[in-house]
Structure formats: structure tokens, C-alpha cells
Amino acid sequence: MKTVRFGVVVFPGSNCDHDVYYVLKTLLKQDVRFLWHKQTSLEDCDVIILPGGFSYGDYLRCGAIARFSPIMKEVAGFAARGGIVMGICNGFQILCESGLLPGALIRNRSLRFICKNVSLKVENKKSIFTNSFVKADINQFKLPIAHAEGNYICDENTLSELESNKQILFRYIDNPNGSLADIAGIINKEGNVMGMMPHPERACEKLLGSEQGLNIFRSITESFN
């Protein structure tokens, strides 16, 4: 088994960075390092993770300012060369703002911050991020969500492209936030950039109630073997 080198980007206001680090390092025994957002080197990482949180206090729009952090130029170049990039929650918002993923995330339909476990299903099980799902979890698995701006939108053409290219990775079974087509997570056309609102890093140990989030991180490491 190859040990995969993960880089977790830390923006001012990131707050799920240590959770991802812990899962990858302690539970999955991978090589992990933090990358400060002002860095211009990705330190030869194989996978870049943009973690959840409130980068720049969500000022202006969620992710709008983080998108211009120096490291994002490198992340965009890395993604264009086929490098694997995953954005969780605020990381998903940053990927949309930077144009690495289509669409945008607006205020939840209820206007409330929603923090709860939700049921999801895998729509495309052949991606880098879903290839090693436990069979029983594919049609229904649970992850926590914690966001106020998780309502995914895009125009009609983009939606039909997402559908026909199998870019919709995860859908909510009971839509919590108003997202178009129940979208909870998507990949880019090439399949190497992924963004999702739910938090898999918060569901990786039985002690915390669920290990179903491991499906996603294991799929990534498996894709290197």
C-alpha cells in the first residue's frame, strides 16, 4: 500500500482542519501535513484538502476571500494537472467561488444554521472519492451537516451537464437546505476535484457515532493502489 501524502490547507477561520488531520494520520496512517494559506508550495502532496470552517469570517460571501489566498493559485494549477482536491463544507464553498467547481452555495431555504445528521446516497460509485464504499452504505449512509449556506444552485445547462457527466456524487435523501436536485456533493468534469457540504471527517469513529465517513477517505487512498 502506498502511503498517500495529504495536505490540509489552513485558512484564517478554518476549524475542521485538525479533524481531517486526525482522521488521515491517526486512523488511516497516511502522511499528512498542514499547509498555511499564504504558502505557495504544496510540498509535493498527492491530495489537497480544503477543510470546513469560516474562512475570513465568511465576510462578503462564504469562500469569496479565501479564494484569493496565495495558495489557491497553486491549488488551481494542481487541479488543472489532474491533482486530487477535496473541499468539505467551507472548502466546497471556496472551490465554487474559485471556479474549480460549477455553481454556488447560497443561504439555506430555512435561513437557519443546520447542525444534524442527514441521510445521503452515493450517485456515482466509480469516482476517486467513492470507489471503495462499503456496499451496504451506497444507498444510504449518514453524515453530519453544519452550515447556513449549503443550498446548492446552478443554472439549467450546468445542472443537465452535471447529470449527464455523472458529476453529482452525493444526494440528500431528505433535502435539508433547499439544494437544487438534492445535491450534497459534486465532482468536476474530469473527476479529480470534489466538493461536499456534509462532514465525513466527523463520522470516522464508532465512538463518535458513525464510521461511514471513512468510506470517502478510504476511496481516495485506494485510488493510489
Binding site: I65, N108, L111, D155
Partner: protein, 85 residues
């Protein structure tokens, strides 16, 4: 010197849940003739440039790159010259 006043609003095609909630509240006050409530952002800034044309060009760039997200928002701005006294 020029002053710019920018308005950023959610695009018409996008449901504005905040506007909707505020409208419900307005109507509950008895103003039942109110419709189409939309909530946006207002931004003011000063530009140290030579001409109005230059100010407009720079503002278009700033708005499309950062102040508004074209996927979900529209923007408009007013430019006025600041006369030094």
C-alpha cells in the same frame, strides 16, 4: 478622485429566502400590497483614478472578480467625482 456606490443583489432567477422572510414579516404588519422583496448588499469605496471612464473600468473588474459572484448575483454601481475643496 471618484466615489463608487455598489449594489449587489441576488439574480432574479434565484429564490431569495431572506427577502421572502422579510416580506412575510412586512405583510404581517398589514402592508399587504408589498411584493418582490429582495435583499442585497451595498458597498461604498473611493477610487484614486484620473477619469470616470477609468473608474468604471476598474469597478467592473472589482465587481466581477470579487464583490459579486456572477453565478448568483448581479451588480450595479454609481460613480461620482469627488471635487476637492
Amino acid at each position: 478622485m471618484y466615489s463608487a456606490k455598489v449594489k449587489v443583489t441576488l439574480r432574479k432567477s434565484i429564490l431569495d429566502p431572506q427577502g421572502k422572510a422579510v416580506e412575510t414579516s412586512i405583510r404581517s404588519l398589514g402592508y399587504d400590497k408589498v411584493t418582490d422583496t429582495r435583499i442585497g448588499k451595498y458597498i461604498e469605496l473611493t477610487l484614486d483614478v484620473e477619469s470616470e471612464q477609468e473608474a468604471r473600468r476598474v469597478m467592473d473588474e472589482i465587481c466581477s472578480k470579487l464583490l459579486a459572484n456572477p453565478v448568483m448575483e448581479d451588480y450595479e454601481f454609481e460613480i461620482t467625482e469627488i471635487k476637492s475643496s
